[in-house]
């Protein structure tokens, strides 16, 4: 059991846990967190496999990929959280309004009014 195995084992467990959370949790905020845990697992897998040739310097390509992945993850998370806020606000404003019976092509819906 090398360090690589240990960490990639953890990575896969994290990914699986995240998938379970994503499927079974209902709250959207928790779903977003679950997605981030899957991302953490995927990143950990990449980095632990890059660590395999210890001694020599680790493979920089997975490191670059994970850096890219982190940027993507924070962007998507920020976007998702902003959407959650907006939905919460609109549902909170008009609690009797059922989601789904609005027509986007209609023009009269002015959302910004008080």
């Amino acid at each position: 059991m090398t360090t690589f195995h240990l960490y990639s084992f953890a990575a896969m467990l994290l990914a699986a846990l995240g998938v379970y959370g994503l499927i079974t949790r209902r709250h959207l905020l928790r779903k977003v967190m679950a997605l981030n845990i899957i991302a953490g697992g995927a990143f950990l897998l990449l980095i632990s496999t890059a660590y395999r040739n210890q001694g020599a310097f680790p493979d920089p390509v997975p490191h670059a990929m994970v850096l890219t992945g982190i940027v993507v993850a924070i962007s998507a998370t920020g976007f998702a959280l902003a959407l959650i806020q907006r939905i919460q606000k609109q549902l909170g404003q008009r609690p009797d309004q059922e989601a789904g019976d609005e027509n986007p092509d209609q023009t009269e819906t002015s959302r910004s009014g008080p």
Binding site: Y7, V19, R30, M33, I47, A64, F79
Partner: protein, 340 residues
Amino acid sequence: MSLAPIFDILLITALLLVSWRLLGNSDLFQAAVLFISFGLFLSLAWVRLQAPDIALAEAAVGAGLTGALLFATLKIVEPKQGRSKNGAQPKSCRLDRAAECPGRMHYILASIFVLGLAGLLLTAVFSLPDTANGLAGLTSGFLAQSGVEHPVTAVLLNFRLYDTWLELGVLLLALLGVLGTRDRLGPQNVTAAQPPNPVLSWLVRGLAPFMLLATVYLLWLGDHAPGGAFQAGVVLAATLVLLWLAGLGSVVRMPRHAWLFSLVAGFSAMLVLALCTTLAPDAVALAYPQSWAKALILLLESVATISIGVILASLTVLVLAGEGEANGAGAAETDGKNGM
């Protein structure tokens, strides 16, 4: 015999424990706190696995921005929860009313699926060869020609520049998406929610110069050591968000044009490089001209740092400010003026 395995096992236990609890039965505030701790433990893992670049990025994102984003959303989604004495189970989720309450079958199916997935993943991982045969050799072989001395920077800004360009596009898109759901175009005139805390503003006044210094330092570091545009950009973003929280000038006070320009600067710098290299008769697409590589990479990185900083800061400020600012009698008119 080193103590490394003990450290590893402790770290992995912590990671799994945190994520288990985070997804399991904890109230949302606890989940947010656990999520930040998760980022912290992950960055310890990055350091342990000799990935200091990632550790820097994770420290900046996980400890700083994500926490701020989550707490802000939590306040709006569960306004009372953030204050409650003892975190009770959150009541029904209004955000997901369409979904039925998952029954037992749902959990069983999910468990079967996830167990299968985990089994597959673990078999796959344990069948991997013990030594890496990746591109490490090639990268170090061509490092001398790349214009920088740090291999990760070389990959990001030379060998795989196209990916980095697109990644800046992703960042830009996330912000555009958020702006699309708002009534205004930018974070301008978004004011701090309440009179700034004097202690905080005093603290930030002292801290901000150091953080700006850290930004420049990280940017400069990327040339030959872990660091670079992204890490520097996140620190810049955190600085800008802190400045906003303290009621000091930040992205919200930037003139619209300067703000727009800094949003697109990184993406368009790479676009200009692509444009020039495809138009020039004897140039290779997205390749730096000989002997200019070092200077151009530094330039691109500086511009990208500003873009990343401003984009992430605007995103965070918009989420932190919530919808409150656009919610008033004047919003409709401002929409007309500002949105066009």
